[in-house]
């Protein structure tokens, strides 16, 4: 199994925002934003949670530690 990364796909200057979204509201809202073709920066990557109550501080800090430029928790 050979996994090689195309450098274009991991441009170091690419901003990465991790958005933790509750699937009942914020994730559904993001879906609707898509339906309405509202544009936002592609740097936002949504991770679905069953409820934002699931989100703990350690996980947030760890995402920063890994290099996330910003984190959003929406729910």
């Amino acid at each position: 199994m050979q996994w090689s990364i195309n450098p274009v796909n991991n441009a170091p200057d690419q901003t990465q925002i991790v958005a933790y979204c509750c699937k009942h509201c914020a994730y559904a809202a993001a879906d609707l934003a898509g339906g309405l073709r509202m544009q936002y920066p592609p740097s936002v990557k949504i991770i679905e949670l069953p409820c934002t109550g699931r989100m703990d501080v350690l996980s947030l800090l760890e995402a920063f530690e890994q290099g996330a430029d910003g984190i959003m928790v929406a729910g």
Partner: protein, 1518 residues
């Protein structure tokens, strides 16, 4: 009953469901009519209890009115966020069959076993195939008002009502056949190509034309355009110039180089067809026949093809090149065209191998009238003359030509002769208005200098020198009696004979078919009019295999008829060759759309249609055209064509232009769908058809429809919605500007002469809309004009106070009588009394926008439904329900819920919906699970020891994803990821064949984890999970990457970025699914018993509803007898006597099998969880009974407040309403009160100042009415803040006022004051707001409307059952709108006064609802537990109680006997059967001893690492 009943023999056995009828005759299925929030709730409750549900909705999607709302009060929750999960649940429930576009026609049978006929209108899109990709919407050219958005914007004729609609499929709206199409013999879809021209889609427009007409360039010039004669636009101004538009688009496309047409494949080489005549009819038939795969040869006697089009119509009207091109398009299909080939013998054709012959020779023989000299050499006939000129043979006409006749052909002849340099006269025996020539033709001829001699009849032609004539004798005529043609017969005028000199006469008085080649023995019959005898349906001649069409059967006709008959005869010939019956099957026709003048006036008034004449066509000046054959009439230019096209009214809505059919990638569109009828058997019926809003344009004084800035409340709701027409921005329709000052006018269509009821929701809805608007723009100045603030439900009064005090919404007690508009600014002027002024001076105030709070009405459809089914309706249209069984209609087994019973808001509708489900299950319980199906899956494979083998399926979603994302590149990228053994892309991953393919691929490739990169998991995950379960995989071994809603759609401006992000999202999904493991669910057995606490009306009703289903019930009552507050009610509110009700309930409870009543008892402890509770009941004698039960219903009641306000308790003349009722029940005439005495009632006492106790106004009015009925002499004065009767109780308020009871309004600042020295006359002073004066009352009795308050021990009770209370001490429901009888702890439900003050009937309904919810658990043998739930690693637990404290559902417990960390006893435990999977305890656990399955720390971390460190992916996944 219904009039539209059909005999049962006409039921299609394939569509009738197999019915298993229980031996006792009951059927285990239920019909729910109406897919709004109540219909869905009923359907879900029943389906979850083991009944099959048919949910019939008249629209194309379920969701009802709630789907249109932006927010809901009093929580300001997003309405769609609340309803959307219900929509999905309803749509996916295996035992709910949704029938959209459905109506009920007829019901027969009885309670337990009804037979129902359902009529389903076609949606023209196959729900099974449609994947809702919206590709059809992109191409649909028809624009109509968007009803879901209350006509504020437009949508296409193919549509989905709203993005989240269920079924998730589009539909096509058709009103019928547009009159233009109906009038056209070929059925040209004029509306369709006009719409496409409006959009500048020339190729698409021509494609539409060519579907029905192979000669668009020709018909665009010379058609007699019946479409225009039928056009509805002529009722507005002038018909659309359809012919000119057709010509424009044809010319536009023909400007481009001609694309080569490929010959069609000949499928049946032996079945040759001969066509005699290459005119429009023969050519049309040739095209159709060869397109069906049969070889065609056309024999034409002339040297050119095109028939009359080519040799009968002069160049200046129809250039030959247009004809030649369109003929060539047909010949190029592979038709063998033999010119100069005259056919003389039909037998010879058959002998040479032709299987069928079409005679389409047209009518080329000119007619000469039988007058002397008609055959002289200088006399010509029209057909020969025009043909010769077309073939460049120019006869010598001499100087002066007389053309006889004044039809279109005569005009062609005259104008052609003129162009050959002759002086031309037209002689016609009738009047000018009798001429059959087009107006335009005569105008052109006159412009060119042709002289007309009307009412002139030639009698003899006289020869002259050589081939020339000297002239003709004529007589004048005058109109006589009307002849067969409908015109006055020309009668010769005596002594009017005169001579008209001329060199040539050309007859243009008719033409006929030249059938000389058909000998008498050919077996082909000829009519006495010298046309071929045919069957008019099939065009078959009398000889087998011979057909005839076109002018040779009709005589002369127009080109469009020739084309039409060509199509018809082609269909017959093909059927003949296929050996089928010649007569085609008839399809039910769609109605023709006739727009009435009134419809059109309304559309003009709404601004949808603007008066505008047709765009004129340019012409060459007469002077420039007489010496040549150049085309006289010019076509439109692009701008004019688009402008003219925009005038079309789109009468049929969908025009069947077929653009959607070409665009659809799943072949889901079927324009030929027809209505279907099916009959179902059901055991019970719930009617939840909902309401419609009052049409505000009926109240003309408010200018709705005329003043653009007057909106309805539901329109304003759409403006507020982020997914609405303005994306949630409040804009004035007139100028798109944010209004500064908005007025809401209440009771528009409620509480008026035509509406005897209160619509119940509008006060709160307006308040909510005001609050939300203020949240958008705090600077907005909002005024609400109302009569009373009817905030009578839980949390509503508080909400109102917040709106008034915190948000600064202004309320005025005033009903506005009309609106004026400032015409320039479109600002609106209201006239109302100044609030601050005690003299109530009238002022004029200007607003930027006015919102009309429109009330509820029952639609005509629902009234008709009621009548058809035999349901008794009130005059207002609401269902007239039975008083003892509040939800039941007059038909036993048929129930009414929601606004169909009376106006009401969402929670009450939901309660009634569950209540009706409860009542139905109480008599259908023995046939549960007889009609339901369970989905079977193969046994799950254990993959826990296998290395990951991941499959990735990337969806194109038509162009929705593939239009922006490089799908092949992304798929290739996915294929290279670690452990990914299979990656592929699909056009539509969710289409049925793809789903099956995924299942097969899992098996073939031995996959053990699957990623689908497509749309949103919220709608599609369950579908894909099913497909992997079908392959034996656990559903949790799955993950979705949302590359559509959250990638391609939102980054559509940047394809590269979208492609890159899609790769990242898939990478994250692959990393996470790699860490997924199978999640097991376990079955937990259910204790099929119930505990009901509280023996009032609610408790007894709940207990009965459950016990009747066969579930043993323990009913615990703390008093020594049953009845609760019902014991204190004596005066009926409606016809039902409360004490009789109490008696009935007690008897039923006593007799009910399985119902154990524990009097003088309390529940002292309870433990366990849903399905498995254990409780201890202590009886009065101290004995303790322990029971096990699956559910608990708390119906512990409330009581009347008895505080010291207004001197209560100090004077026997001061009573509560309950005291008064009690006294009236014993002494109905109140003997102690003197004649002409007086009574004062004060509303909103004590705690009711803080929350509205809902029922006090109704009780006061009820008692006042009883008093006035028995003692008309008494004066009754009611001091109130707002009269909060609601729904149909408004009628009681009206009645009481009519009885002479007087009402005085006070407010919180100036409450009434009791100034009574002890033992003296009672004295009350009150400031009356309407009069602006202090009023003094000296009543004989003072009656205080004391509110209902919760019992004092509610706190203890709440602690014991681990349930929550609201701020006023009542039970707190799980969700105030959608779960109004559930506690947030599962398995526990509430009913009655302990939830909130309510009327008896409402308590009973709520009890039935609680029983229904409880039955969902009790009807199951086991409950599923597990899946995505929190799991405690007990060995790491410190027993710190954090999880116990933070869980909102009170699930975690400490198991004191289980060792935690360091073997210390006491570790937390989360019961999987009730864990909601929110993960709050996981986040909060300081020891990190809890993890949430499927959302574990390592799984979430894998996503982040995969995103940020792709280089570590292999390491991460190992």
């Amino acid at each position: 009953m219904g009039q539209n009943s059909i005999p049962s023999s006409s039921i299609d056995p394939n569509t009738a469901a197999p019915i298993r009828i229980n031996p006792n005759g009951k059927v285990g299925s239920v019909l729910v009519v109406g897919g709004g929030i109540s219909g869905m709730q009923s359907a879900l409750d029943l389906a979850d209890q083991g009944f099959k549900v048919y949910l019939v909705e008249k629209e194309t999607a379920i969701g009802g009115k709630m789907a249109q709302l932006d927010k809901t009060f009093p929580t300001n929750d997003c309405a769609m966020c609340n309803i959307s999960p219900k929509l999905v649940e309803t749509g996916r429930h295996p035992n709910i069959e949704i029938i959209t576009n459905g109506t009920i026609h007829h019901i027969s049978g009885q309670k337990g076993n009804f037979s129902v006929q359902i009529w389903q209108e076609p949606r023209y899109i196959d729900i099974e195939k449609c994947v809702a990709c919206n590709d059809c919407v992109e191409v649909c050219p028809v624009i109509v008002p968007d009803v879901f958005n209350e006509d504020l914007i437009q949508r296409t004729a193919v549509f989905k009502e709203y993005p989240q609609a269920i079924p998730n499929a589009l539909a096509i709206q058709k009103a019928g056949v547009a009159p233009c199409r109906d009038a056209c013999p070929t059925g040209q879809r004029a509306q369709g190509y006009i719409a496409l021209i409006r959009e500048g889609r020339w190729d698409d427009a021509l494609r539409v034309i060519k579907m029905d007409n192979p000669f668009p360039g020709i018909c665009g010039r010379i058609c007699n355009h019946r479409c225009e004669d039928a056009c509805n636009r002529s009722k507005v101004d002038e018909p659309i110039d359809i012919r000119a538009l057709k010509r424009y688009v044809t010319d536009k496309v023909y400007e481009n180089p001609r694309e080569k047409i490929e010959p069609v494949e000949i499928l049946y080489p032996d079945k040759k067809v001969a066509i005699i005549g290459a005119g429009p009819c023969g050519l049309t038939a040739a095209q159709d026949i060869i397109n069906d795969g049969f070889p065609v040869t056309i024999f034409e006697s002339l040297p050119v093809a095109g028939g009359m089009l080519r040799v009968g119509v002069p160049e200046y009207r129809l250039p030959a090149e247009i004809v030649d091109r369109e003929v060539q398009d047909i010949v190029d299909l592979g038709v063998d065209l033999q010119l100069n080939h005259r056919v003389d013998d039909l037998d010879q054709l058959f002998k040479s191998g032709f299987q069928a012959i079409l005679i389409a020779v047209g009518a080329h023989e000119g007619v000469r009238p039988p007058i002397p000299g008609a055959n002289l050499p200088g006399v010509l006939v029209s057909t020969n003359f025009l043909r010769d000129v077309s073939l460049d043979i120019f006869p010598d006409l001499g100087k002066k030509v007389v053309v006889v006749g004044a039809g279109d052909v005569a005009m062609d002849v005259a104008r052609t002769a003129l162009r050959l340099d002759a002086e031309v006269h037209v002689v016609y025996r009738r009047r000018a208005e009798d001429s059959s020539a087009g107006e335009e033709e005569i105008r052109h001829a006159k412009e060119e200098g042709i002289e007309f001699h009307f009412q002139t009849n030639p009698t003899e032609i006289i020869s002259g020198s050589g081939d020339k004539l000297s002239g003709m004798w004529c007589v004048d005529t005058e109109p006589g009696t009307v002849d067969k043609s409908g015109r006055p017969k020309p009668v010769p005028v005596p002594e009017s004979k005169h001579f008209l000199e001329c060199d040539t006469v050309i007859f243009a008085v008719g033409q006929r078919a030249g059938l000389a080649f058909i000998p008498d023995d050919a077996g082909v019959g000829i009519t006495d009019k010298n046309t071929i005898a045919i069957n008019p349906n099939t065009f078959a001649a009398t000889r087998e295999g011979v057909f005839a069409a076109g002018d040779s059967i009709f005589g002369t006709a127009y080109v469009i008829e020739a084309i039409s008959s060509g199509h018809t005869v082609a269909r017959s010939i093909v059927r003949y060759l296929q050996g089928k019956h010649l007569e085609p099957e008839r399809k039910p026709p769609l109605p023709v759309v006739e727009l009435s003048h009134q419809d059109l006036q309304e559309r003009i008034a709404r601004g949808e249609v603007e008066r505008k004449p047709r765009v004129p066509l340019p012409e060459i000046d007469a002077a420039d055209r007489m010496d040549n054959f150049n085309e006289v009439v010019k076509g439109y230019d692009e701008a004019s064509a688009m402008e003219e096209a925009a005038r079309c009214l789109a009468c049929g809505i969908c025009s069947e232009c077929m653009s959607c059919v070409f665009a659809c990638g799943t072949d889901a569109i079927d324009h030929d769908m027809v209505s279907t009828e099916k009959t179902i058997q059901v055991g019970g019926i719930i009617l939840a058809p909902g309401y419609k809003t009052y049409p505000a344009e009926k109240s003309e004084e408010f200018g709705f429809g005329r003043f653009p800035n007057v909106l309805t409340s539901i329109q304003f709701e759409r403006l507020l919605s982020a997914s609405g027409p303005t994306m949630g921005h409040i804009k004035r329709p007139s100028d798109g500007v944010l209004p500064k000052k908005i007025a809401f006018l209440q009771c528009i269509g409620s509480r008026d002469q035509n509406h005897s009821y209160c619509s119940s929701i509008c006060c709160m809805a307006a308040t909510k809309e005001a609050v939300i608007a203020k949240e958008h723009h705090p600077e907005l100045d909002i005024h609400i004009f109302q009569m009373d603030m009817r905030s009578f439900s839980k949390g509503y009064w508080d909400y109102f106070k917040r709106a008034r005090d915190q948000y600064g919404v202004h309320y005025h007690h005033c009903r506005i009588s009309g609106i004026l508009e400032e015409p320039d600014s479109h600002n609106l002027i209201l006239r109302h009394p100044a609030d601050s002024d005690p003299a109530n001076t009238i002022i004029h105030e200007t607003f930027d926008m006015v919102v009309l709070s429109v009330g509820m009405e029952i639609s005509d459809d629902v009234r008709i439904l009621g009548q058809q089914l035999g349901i008794s309706l009130l005059p207002e249209g609401f269902s007239n329900c039975q008083k003892g069984s509040p939800l039941e209609t007059n038909l036993p087994g048929v129930y009414a819920v929601g606004p169909f019973r009376s106006p009401k808001d969402i929670p009450e509708s939901v309660i009634e919906a569950s209540g009706a489900a409860g009542v139905i299950s109480s008599y259908l319980s023995d046939v549960r699970f007889t009609e339901t199906t369970t989905r079977e899956y193969p046994i799950e494979q254990d993959i826990s020891c296998e290395p990951p083998r991941i499959g990735v399926f990337v969806c194109h979603c038509g162009s929705n994803i593939a239009g922006y994302i490089d799908v092949p590149q992304v798929t290739e990228y996915a294929a290279a990821m670690p452990f990914v053994v299979h990656a592929e892309s699909n056009l539509y991953s969710c289409s049925q064949d793809s789903i099956k393919h995924i299942t097969e691929t899992i098996t073939e490739q031995n996959l053990n984890r699957v990623v689908v990169a497509s749309c949103t998991p919220l709608t599609h995950q369950p579908l894909f999970q099913d497909s992997i379960r079908d392959a034996g995989l656990n559903p949790y071994l799955f993950e979705m990457a949302n590359i559509r809603n959250q990638c391609s759609w939102v980054h559509s401006a940047d394809d590269q970025a979208a492609t890159l992000k899609a790769k990242e999202l898939i990478r994250m999904a692959v990393a996470k699914v790699n860490k997924h493991s199978a999640q097991e669910t376990i079955d937990v057995p259910v204790q099929k018993n119930a505990l009901v606490v509280g023996g009032g009306a609610a408790g007894i009703s709940a207990a009965l509803t459950l016990a009747e289903q066969g579930f043993p019930v323990h009913l615990v009552e703390k008093d020594d007898n049953l009845g609760g507050q019902l014991r204190n009610l004596h005066i009926p509110l409606n016809e039902y006597d409360p004490q009789q009700l109490l008696k009935d309930l007690r008897i039923k409870a006593q007799d009910q099998k399985g119902l154990t009543t524990h009097l003088n008892s309390t529940v002292i402890s309870t433990s366990g969880f849903k399905g498995n509770f254990t409780s201890q009941i202590e009886s009065g004698d101290g004995g303790i009974t322990s029971i096990q039960h699956g559910v608990t219903i708390l119906a512990t009641g409330g009581e009347e407040y008895r505080g010291p306000e207004y001197g209560y308790g100090t004077d026997p003349r001061i009573l509560t309403q309950q005291d008064l009722e009690e006294r009236l029940s014993k002494d109905s005439t109140l003997k102690a009160v003197p004649l002409n005495g007086s009574i004062v009632m004060i509303q909103c006492v004590g705690p009711a100042e803080e929350y509205c106790s809902r029922i006090c106004c109704t009780n006061a009015l009820k008692n006042a009415k009883a008093l006035k009925s028995s003692r008309p002499d008494l004066q009754i004065h009611i001091l109130y803040r707002d009269i909060r009767v609601y729904g149909l109780m408004e009628q009681l308020y009206t009645e009481v006022r009519d009885l002479g009871v007087l009402f005085f309004r006070y407010n919180d600042e100036q409450k009434p004051d009791l100034e009574t020295p002890p033992g003296r006359v009672l004295q009350i002073k009150s400031w009356d707001l309407s009069l602006g004066k202090q009023i003094k009352f000296e009543p004989d009795l003072l009656v205080l409307s004391m509110p209902v308050i919760p019992h004092s021990d509610m706190n203890n009770l709440a602690n014991r059952f681990k349930v929550s209370l609201d701020q006023d001490g009542f039970f707190l429901e799980a969700h105030v709108k959608l779960r109004p009888v559930d506690f947030s702890s599962e398995g526990i439900y509430m009913a009655g006064l302990a939830h909130y003050p309510k009327l008896i009937e409402e308590s009973i309904i709520q009890a039935q609802a609680a029983a229904s919810r409880a039955s969902i658990i009790l009807s199951q043998d086991t409950l599923k537990a597990g899946g995505s739930v929190a799991v405690v690693a007990q060995g790491e637990c410190t027993g710190c109680l954090t999880c116990v404290r933070v869980c909102p559902f009170e699930v975690p417990i400490i198991q004191s006997e289980v060792p935690g960390v360091g073997q210390t006893l006491g570790a937390a435990y989360v019961e999987p059967a009730i864990c909601q999977g929110c993960g709050i305890c996981v986040a909060e656990c300081p020891a990190q001893a809890i993890d949430l399955m499927h959302y574990t720390d390592s799984q979430l971390k894998a996503k982040v690492t995969a995103l940020l460190h792709p280089e570590d992916l292999t390491l991460l996944m190992l």
